[in-house]
Structures are given as C-alpha cells and as structure tokens.
C-alpha cells in the first residue's frame, strides 16, 4: 500500500531537517521512518542478472548462429504470409470455440436431460483425445467419406455435393480441429463462469418476470464474463501457439513459413528464432489487450479501478518499495 500515515523519510525531508528551517528547532520534528531494506531481493536480482547474462552471451557469441539472418528474414514474404495465416486461424478458431463453448455450457446447465447429455458427451470426446490426432483425423476425412452432400430426405433431391478432398483443405481441417476442440475447453470455462454468478441474481431476474433466456443474456452472462475473460485470454494465447500444430497437416502457417525457408538454406535455428519473435510479439499484444478488457469488465465491482498497465509494470519491477516524497 502506498498511503502511509506519517511523512516518510525521503532524501528531501531529511535534508530539510538538517538545514533547520526558520523556527524548525523549536518544533519537535516528526520521527524519521526507515523503510525495511530487502537485502535478499538485491542478492536474488544480482544472481538472476549473472545467469541471464551468461545465457545471452552463450547465444550471442555462438559462431554457429548467423544473427544477421534474423532481421533479414523477419519481414520476408513467406514469414509474413505465415504470420497472417496463423493469426487468421487462431482468431477464427477461438471465435468459433467461444461461441460453441457458450452454447455447450448453456446446454450443460439446462434442465433438458437430452441437451445436458449431448454437451457432456461432446466435452468428453473432444477433451479426451489429443488435438494432434483430431487434426490429422479431419485432414484425412476424405479417406472414408469420399463426398459430402446435403440432400432432402425421402425426395432424392440433392442441394449440395462436393468431394471431401476439395472441401477439407488444410485450412478447413485445421479450423475444424482447433475450433471443435476449443469448444470443449471453452464450455468448461463458460460453465465455471455461469456457476460463479450468485444464484440470487437469477432469482431476482426471475422475480422481475424475466424469462430464463433473457436472464442468461442480460443478467448472468454479463457478470460471468468477468470470471470468463482471464482464462479465455489464456486460451487465446495458447491457441495462437497451438496453431503451429497445423503445420503438420500442411497448413501454411508461421512455423511452416519458417520451415519452408530453412529446408532450403539450412539456417534452422535462425528461422526458429524469427518465428519465435513473431509468436512473442503476437502473444504480448494479446496480453495487453486482455489487461484492458479485464479492466473494462471490472466496472461495477467493489474493487477500485485497476491502475494502468504501465503503472502495474512499474510496481512489479521496483525492488524497493517506492514511497511518495
């Protein structure tokens, strides 16, 4: 906490006392507050610096790493195209995943035993199998279903028919796999959020004549969002990285872009660094976005408005507790 009841000893006040302003001698001066010195923190910081420095120098001075290749490839067409594909896939998969999650969570909490079981089964299936297996499964759907068609039963009327291999492109397979899988995880997150809203809120809404659907939309979901956002932010950051699995099914993502280059020039390490830089940039931007989103939805809560991001960083970075002079 910043608010100290008494004037702390900062350099300026100490000087003022020594200088002894006019009449300063007669008054009893306030006691000098000596802040607790955290010696352990300083020692730990020194150790961290030494280890980090050794690591950085091990990489920086390594003759087998051509550092000049990193800026050269950072903005190359293949990398930027891959980055764009990665962002697109992550955004779409997460969006569909959130929508699915809300739907599945509402089904899971409904009083209808059929929807409840369907939701349970879905979550069981998609959480219980590896994502990589699901991706390869969707990609190879054409092996067992040669065409996908939509027809009106009992009439022989076909509205739509297409070969599976044409429909299931690497992008479609990746989106299907990631979104359906994400839906299962989001369902659990949304369900947790909905259950986190006090039962009295639903009752108050019902008592006002609101239907269950209206109550969910207007009263419960907006409050649940506050609980849902932090884990969803984590999910999105995870999703951004998980899209790299799609390179296995030949989707042209960031990792694949890097791979295509290092398969030719053999600068594997350098290009992995290039890809990692972009992943880091993207996840950092998301982290900042998540911070402001959380702050926005904290309105109306009893906690005071959170400080700005810069303020938070400053606070977490200061070793010594800062006292206002």
């Amino acid at each position: 906490m910043r608010a100290l009841p008494i004037q702390p000893a900062s350099a300026s006040t100490a000087d003022a006392v020594e200088a002894g302003g006019p009449g300063g001698g007669q008054q009893r001066s306030a006691p000098v507050v000596v802040p607790l010195r955290h010696w352990g923190r300083w020692i730990a910081a020194a150790l961290v610096l030494v280890v980090a420095g050794a690591l950085v120098s091990a990489f920086a001075t390594n003759p087998d790493i051509d550092w000049s290749a990193v800026p050269r490839y950072l903005f190359s067409g293949s990398i930027l195209r891959g980055l764009w594909h990665t962002l697109l896939l992550a955004l779409l998969a997460q969006g569909v995943g959130i929508a699915l999650g809300v739907l599945l969570a509402a089904m899971r909490l409904s009083e209808n035993p059929v929807t409840r079981s369907v939701s349970w089964l879905y979550i069981w299936l998609f959480r219980g199998t590896p994502l990589l297996v699901q991706l390869i499964f969707w990609f190879n759907l054409g092996l067992v279903f040669h065409t996908i068609s939509l027809s009106v039963p009992f009439t022989g009327l076909t509205l739509f028919s297409e070969s599976t291999n044409t429909l299931i492109t690497p992008f479609a397979a990746a989106l299907l796999g990631l979104a359906l899988n994400e839906g299962a995880y989001m369902a659990e997150i949304v369900r947790g959020g909905l259950l986190g809203v006090e039962r009295g809120q639903t009752e108050a809404a019902y008592a006002l004549g609101m239907t269950p659907g209206l109550t969910l939309r207007r009263i419960v979901l907006p409050q649940a969002i506050r609980i849902i956002i932090p884990p969803t932010g984590n999910e999105f950051i995870n999703m951004l990285k998980t899209t790299s699995l799609a390179s296995v099914i030949a989707y042209d993502d960031l990792l694949n872009g890097a791979k295509n280059i290092y398969n030719q020039n053999l600068q594997t390490f350098e290009l992995l660094i290039v890809a990692s830089i972009w992943y880091l940039v993207a996840t950092s931007i998301l982290t900042i976005g998540q911070f402001y989103l959380e702050r926005h939805y904290a309105r109306g809560s009893s906690a005071a408005l959170a400080p700005s991001l810069v303020e938070v960083w400053k606070r977490s970075l200061t070793l010594r507790r800062m006292v206002k002079a």
Binding site: A204, A207, I219
Partner: protein, 254 residues
C-alpha cells in the same frame, strides 16, 4: 370486499424427504398488509417463494389474482405452465430479498429500468421518467448513475424496492428485507415500506421487526415448523397470543 388476491389452501412443499410446508392456508385481500413471523427454518421464505413460482408446490392449491400458481386451468384439466408463461405471471408480483440481489453490473437507474423495458416492452423514455420518480420516492434520485457496490445496504434495499415497483406489481413480497442491514439502516427501509402500505399496496412481509408488524400490518401470521400456528390482528397475536408456541417465540424476540 373484493376478491382476495392470494388464496393458499393446504399448501405443502417437500425438499427430498423433508416436509417444509405442511398445509399452509392463508388468504390476503387487496390492499392488505400481512406480516409473517416465526422462527428460522419454519418455512416462511419457502412459502413466499411458492407464491412467486420460484418453488413448485407438492400439494394443495395456491391462487394469485384468480390464477393458479404454476398451472393454467382449461376445463377440468390443469396444464403446467411454460417458462415464458410462468415469467409473465411473476411479472405481476414484486419481490424484495434479504440480500437485495441488485444487478451489480448495472447502475441504479439501469437496475430499475431493465425489466419494464425488456419484459413489459414499455417505451424506454416513459420507463426512465417513471424510474426517476420511483428513485425520488425512495430518496435515491441522486444515486441514479452509481453502481450498487458503492451504496450502503439500506440504499441498496431501497433501490431493490424501486426496481420491484417499476414493474407496477399487484402484490409485493418482502423476505426479511431488513435482516441483512446494520441496525441504523433498518429505519430508512421500513419507512419506504410504510409509505407503500399507506398507498394501498398489497404486501406480504416476512420480518423480525415486531414494531413494524404492530404498526403497519393488518394481520400478523405466526408460522412454525411448516404450519400457520396462529393469525389475527397484530394487537392480538403480538400482545395476547392464544397459542403457547407463539408466546414462546415472542418471549424470545421481544
């Protein structure tokens, strides 16, 4: 006298094997104020919740405003109501909870305006103007843009009353509206309720405020162990109870 607004006959309610209401009968006329008193766990809240369709009754009949709670009568059959039918019946009954249950993500004014706009589909401008009047009436016009978390308990409960009144209910249910308040805040809420009673609102009030019951209630009803043990004018029930259980309860709380 006009037709009664609430008629309960032999209402029973079970939670699993536990019988919580064991045949409760009570009639409330329009403009009447009935206070329900009784020890904790005697089923007072459950009874109020049954009236407002928040709990389904297991036996007996319960009518509000001439309509069966939870069912639609068609000839000699009773059809269970659909969720939206239940909702539209609840819209005519206001309820105030012990823990206020204001919507924390909405401002005071938004709390009041939400249901009349979305449920009754009344024009926004008209509803906002009426909300203004209601908030003035409970003495909180200045707080219209505040969030509930920044209000005291007494202020929150007064907003909750305004929110319920905005639906223009035929009947108001109060479930221990002052039990969660600091003692110095009880008066302001009771004052608002007294005003409502004077304006002729039909009210069923579960309360431990014996002073309020004595002054405001037309009838006091003592419940114990899922039964209405005794009911009558406040002077009689509170001053000269006929039943030993009533006397025992009163000697503890007075």
């Amino acid at each position: 006298m006009s037709d009664p607004l609430v008629v309960a006959e032999g209402v029973e309610k079970l939670f699993g094997p536990q019988i919580v209401l064991k045949g409760v009968s009570l009639t409330v006329a329009p403009r009447e104020v009935v206070c329900i008193i009784g020890p904790s766990g005697s089923g007072k809240s459950t009874f109020l919740r049954c009236i407002n369709h928040l709990e389904r009754i297991d036996a007996g009949t319960l009518e509000v405003d001439g309509e069966l709670v939870g069912y639609r009568r068609a000839g000699d059959r009773l059809h269970e109501l659909r969720p939206h039918e239940v909702a539209s019946r609840r819209a005519k009954i206001g309820m105030v909870f012990q823990r206020f249950n204001l919507f924390p993500h909405l401002t005071v004014a938004e709390n009041v305006v939400e249901a009349p706009c979305r449920v009754l589909k009344r024009p926004k401008r008209e509803v906002v103007a009426e909300a203004e009047t209601l908030l003035e009436r409970v003495g909180l016009a200045a707080k219209r843009d505040a969030y509930p978390a920044s209000l005291s308990g007494g202020q929150q409960q007064r907003v909750a009353i305004a929110r319920a009144l905005a639906m223009r209910p035929r009947l108001m249910l109060f479930d221990e509206p002052t039990s969660a308040l600091d003692p110095e805040l009880v008066g302001e809420v009771l004052q608002v309720m007294r005003g409502l009673a004077e304006d002729g609102m039909t009210m069923i009030v579960v309360t431990h405020e014996m002073g309020f019951a004595r002054e405001v209630a037309d009838r006091v009803c003592f419940m114990d162990d899922g039964c209405v043990v005794e009911e009558g004018p406040p002077r009689q029930v509170l001053g000269d109870p006929r039943h030993p259980r009533t006397a025992a309860f009163l000697s503890k709380v007075l």
